[in-house]
């Protein structure tokens, strides 16, 4: 069991009579880039919300490195090692770029500092603040955002906001990174750039990536394996190119 970073077992949730997701079994191996695709309303984001604790599953369970995380609160799940970005970007808009990332470093074991230590300005407060700022700058440098670090997050262009969201998620040092439509609203050049960035992230930060995307070129160029969802159930899964050629998948997308 433990060879998979993420394993879901018959994961499902129903809202009243509506089964938004049922019997979803995902197996994501370490350092994989795993795609989750499907037509609109297939339940992709619902799965993400289940995995991050926004919704509590009504059926099944899921494991991160063999540890059951079902039923934990969102902040606990993040501390266990699942970080996410959102489909509609959610940044801390009235804070500067560098502070956005520093919020991500909040629970980092290297920068521990209690509230009392901050009140009375113990040396540890200054030390941890300084180290946090350095670490945040380092992360921003990777995403080519260092020059923007003192701008408000809401003033960044769209593509950079996406990058900042990923940087903030990575600051929490996740084992599994969930990206919800990272290429949405990007032009072809930016998308190409994003493919490189995501591959780089996987190697540099040693994370496993699970992503939702509609751009098939992007998915086939990036993902090692995919799962196709339709109406809350798994339609097909396996190696990317093969699965995309699966007749059921083509029917779900094109109709007929």
């Amino acid at each position: 069991m433990a060879q998979y970073v993420l394993e879901t077992k018959d994961l499902g949730i129903s809202f009243g009579g509506l089964k938004a997701a049922q019997n979803v079994n995902l197996r994501v191996s370490k350092n994989q880039i795993y795609g989750l695709i499907g037509p609109n309303g297939a339940g992709k984001t619902t799965i993400f919300n289940l995995l991050t604790g926004v919704y509590k599953p009504t059926a099944g369970t899921f494991y991160l490195n063999g540890e059951e995380l079902k039923g934990l609160s969102q902040e606990k799940i993040n501390q266990k090692g699942i970080a996410r970005t959102f489909q509609n970007i959610r940044l801390f808009n009235n804070m500067t770029v560098v502070r956005n990332v520093m919020v991500g470093l909040h629970n980092h074991p290297d920068f521990k500092c209690t509230i009392w230590e901050s009140f009375f300005r113990f040396p540890r407060h200054f030390r941890s603040e300084k180290m946090m700022r350095e670490k945040a700058k380092e992360l921003l440098r990777i995403f080519d955002l260092e020059d923007e670090r003192n701008n408000l997050a809401c003033n960044l262009p769209y593509g950079k906001q996406r990058k900042l969201e990923i940087a903030r998620a990575l600051a929490t040092e996740p084992k599994l990174l969930l990206l919800d439509e990272p290429a949405a609203g990007m032009n072809p050049h930016e998308t190409e750039d994003l493919v490189k960035t995501i591959k780089f992230i996987r190697d540099k930060f040693d994370v496993t990536i699970l992503l939702i995307e509609h751009d098939m070129k992007f998915v086939s160029g990036l993902c090692d394996e995919i799962t196709v969802l339709n109406f809350g159930t798994v339609l097909a899964e396996g190696e990317t190119k093969e699965t995309l050629r699966h007749p059921e998948v083509i029917r779900a997308y094109i109709g007929g």
């Binding site: 991050t52 926004v54 609160s73 969102q74 902040e75 993040n78 501390q79 970080a83 996410r84 959102f86 959610r90 940044l91 801390f92 808009n93 009235n94 804070m95 500067t96 502070r99 520093m102 919020v103 991500g104 909040h106 629970n107 920068f111 500092c113 509230i115 901050s118 009140f119 009375f120 300005r121 407060h125 200054f126 941890s128 603040e129 946090m132 003192n150 701008n151 408000l152 003033n155 903030r168 998620a169 600051a171 929490t172």
Partner: protein, 379 residues
């Protein structure tokens, strides 16, 4: 300005208040005569500043609307008044009694903050506002209906007198302590977590911030200082009457925070000072038949300030005549050759619509600097 890790900007407000305290403290203590109404005004201002700064922690930084701030103040005032009058017989009416009642008042208010906070912070926005409003009114009517031996009931609780010569100095020292605690909290990773919750609660959760903990901490901290302001109030007024702590007073504190700008401690301080000063002065100037005009004038002035600061139609006017620009014009000579040289180097970026004499003036450059500093300065 930056000297090592010491930022002058971050410590300016302590310094200004410290200087005022020291100057007037020395005048008062060395026997110089200060008008008693001035001393009373100082006390009132100090109380308002503490209230505004503590409320700004919840409203401006946590982003939750609390309308029960006067309720916490009421608890602090009554409890400390009672403690002080009990202790005055045994310990004497000295500094020790004052400090003990401060601590007791603050702690009891903190406990109230926690009791109200735990269930209330599951609510959001308007609902939290209603709960806190109800809390304030409940506290008020509880103290109103006590017997005359316990908390004085409707007549009010008389509290021991304290030498007016010293009281305002203590009040300002407490203001500085409030500022230190609140600003140290805000300018730490914990304050950053609180502002993150304000900006986007869902994202803050997903980033691993313990929302309940930080909301509660901010709420309790805010309640504690409201309680301490209540202690000062009871010492300053000799008598505590519950009618004073109605929702009107809570809203007045909220007005100070909103006028000062959400999430700006210095703004809250300035607004608290101005509003208290205005209220007191209007009350002394307009007496007799003109007293009806007090509230009217007060409201008109508030409307003018809010409209001036926010109306889109006045945007150009504000940009042209604002304080920082006035300040720069006063301290910078227009014919400074260095500025003009800088401007000519930027010919290509200047939009062609602008007339020549405008290009050569320093206004464009200062505009750019202002834009940049606006983007750069968070909080």
């Amino acid at each position: 300005m930056r000297i090592g890790t010491f930022k002058l900007k971050h410590h300016l407000n302590y310094m200004i208040i410290a200087v005022i305290t020291i100057v007037f403290g020395i005048i008062s203590l060395s026997g110089g005569h200060l008008d008693s109404s001035l001393l009373f005004l100082f006390e009132k201002i100090a109380i308002s500043i503490i209230l505004a700064v503590s409320l700004s922690l919840v409203v401006g930084f946590l982003g939750e609307l609390s309308l029960g701030h006067a309720g916490f103040m009421c608890v602090g005032a009554y409890i400390s008044g009672k403690v002080a009058s009990l202790l005055a017989s045994s310990l004497g009416n000295g500094i020790l009694t004052f400090i003990i009642s401060l601590v007791v008042g603050g702690c009891v208010a903190a406990v109230c903050g926690a009791i109200i906070g735990i269930p209330a912070l599951r609510l959001r926005g308007d609902y939290l506002a209603i709960v806190t409003l109800a809390f304030g009114e409940i506290v008020k009517s509880i103290f109103q209906n006590t017997s005359s031996e316990s908390f004085g009931g409707a007549i009010g609780l008389s509290t021991p007198r304290y030498d007016k010569k010293y009281l305002f100095v203590f009040a300002f020292i407490i203001v500085i302590i409030t500022l230190i605690v609140v600003q140290n909290f805000i300018r730490s990773k914990h304050g950053r977590a609180v502002t993150a919750i304000r900006d986007n609660e869902i994202a803050a959760r997903a980033t691993g911030i313990n929302i309940t903990k930080y909301k509660l901490v901010a709420f309790i901290l805010s309640a504690t200082f409201a309680g301490i302001a209540g202690v000062l109030y009871s010492y300053s007024n000799y008598v505590v009457q519950s009618a004073k702590f109605g929702y009107n007073y809570s809203i007045e504190i909220l007005v100070m925070v909103v006028l000062g700008g959400m999430g700006s401690i210095n703004g809250s301080i300035i607004a608290a000072t101005l509003i208290t000063f205005l209220n007191t002065k209007l009350a002394t100037i307009l007496t007799g038949d003109l007293a009806v005009l007090q509230n009217l004038l007060y409201a008109v002035i508030l409307i003018i300030i809010v409209v001036y600061n926010n109306a889109p139609a006045l945007k150009n006017f504000r940009n042209q005549y604002n304080w920082s620009k006035l300040f720069r014009k006063l301290f910078k000579s227009k014919s400074d050759p260095a500025d003009i040289k800088d401007d000519t180097a930027k010919w290509d970026v200047v939009p062609t619509k602008i007339e020549m004499n405008e290009i050569l003036s320093i206004d464009i450059k200062t505009q750019e600097i202002k834009d940049y500093s606006e983007n750069g300065g968070n909080q």
